[in-house]
Symmetry: C3
């Protein structure tokens, strides 16, 4: 208030800036989230992001509300369009399932890239639901879903660390080895 009055009394019409406006300017020139380029990091890891397939039904790959981005469940789709299939603990061992979860992460990165344009806009991976198509006696779900989580941290660093659940499903579409969805915080 004293600031306003001082400006007013002195008649310095051009010299005073509204403080809120200047702080908005600072906000729009905020520093980048990363000390490195996320997309270069992905290239350095030898990862090529695949094309994102259109959902075959009445749903979409990503939906934004505020700064939260909700991603649909995805599976371990190879570059040729086929999927890694089978029950983990019966048809696949943990190592193969880890790779399937990592492949699923690459597919989700492709969805993020297609949605955001620039992966440097990912502020934080918030929540991951890691669903393993597992034999009833299987017990190593965390070791499988680590294939997804590890890649997120390789790519996004500390910002890639998320909350998660790693659980065993009774069955999955087309017998895919895993299905993983997630929630991401983004910036404009």
């Amino acid at each position: 208030m004293r600031f306003f009055l001082l400006c007013s009394l002195l008649g310095l019409l051009g010299a005073c800036e509204h403080p809120t406006q200047s702080s908005q300017t600072e906000y729009s020139s905020q520093p980048p989230l990363y000390t490195y380029d996320v997309e270069q990091r992905i290239a350095d890891l030898g990862i090529e992001l695949p094309e994102v397939g259109s959902p075959m039904a009445n749903y979409v790959n990503a939906q934004r509300v505020g700064n939260l981005l909700f991603l649909a469940g995805k599976g371990p789709r190879r570059a040729d369009g086929t999927f890694v299939t089978g029950k983990v603990g019966a048809d696949l061992d943990v190592e193969a399932a880890y790779e399937a979860a990592r492949l699923t992460a690459i597919n989700q990165l492709a969805v993020l890239k297609a949605t955001l344009g620039d992966l440097n806009r990912v502020k934080r991976i918030v929540k991951v639901m890691g669903m393993v198509n597992a034999a009833p006696e299987f017990e190593q779900h965390p070791e499988v879903i680590n294939g997804f989580s590890d890649l997120m941290v390789e790519v996004f660093g500390e910002r890639g660390k998320h909350t998660r659940a790693a659980v065993g499903m009774g069955s999955l579409p087309r017998n895919i080895a895993c299905e993983i969805d997630m929630i991401v915080e983004i910036v404009d």
Copy 2:
């Protein structure tokens, strides 16, 4: 600031409005989300929304945080209070399970109606978790959950398109054929 000072110097005590107030007025007179009446659309589809049952335990049907509305999981409850039950792929085929998912959608619409008062307040269906009570070898979960997704798009149009996961559970309460929860963005 110049706006404030101009008012101040001219002494136009009654002529100046605070700019924030006028933009708030614009917000409250925002246009409707739909070019049609959502509740009339439901009636046109021949759908009668059932009564919403009270949860039998220490939980609630819907919880709002900001403009996000979280809905509890619901099942395929018929108007007479009974449920569609059985393992999909063993006791039910895909067509019967599609209808069960559609029936579940009708139950969630009833929860939305009871919570919001007016279904035209649904800005967007954000996320759907479609859980099928499936036989271990079942692979057509997307075709089942389409019964839910298709109805949401019939009712809400483009605003009904959501992200989703369609997965197979090992078992469900009372052996219901599916359980589906969702997150919805709403307006006041």
Copy 3:
């Protein structure tokens, strides 16, 4: 605006306060959410919160976005670090599984305490995903997850009532009896 001008014209440099500042003061002195102390309530229930273990993989126990707090899935971990294990409906009955879900709730309270510092900051339990490691024919998932929900209401009262899904998984890590994650609304 008139308020600003009145101050300006009278030259009462020290007498006028910016109205926004005073409303911020009111906000920071908002009344407490509870009519009782939540942490005393927990002690009165005879519950001792355990140490929170560090996640063994690239994930975290809790992640905040705005006023939403997302918690990772937790299981029925005893104070000695062992877990309640077994398939519900085969190795465990409903009563034992109810206690396992209650124990899981205690572990999530410990995560909340470690994250928030003060459990009186919990504004609302929003969403609970209750996943039971169940035999394929098991049907009483709600009665199991009530062990979690009941404790939340004992501790947080009406603010503890949440939306939830109670479902049966095909398998869970280390064969734990249940895994439960949740979303919580908090205040600063």
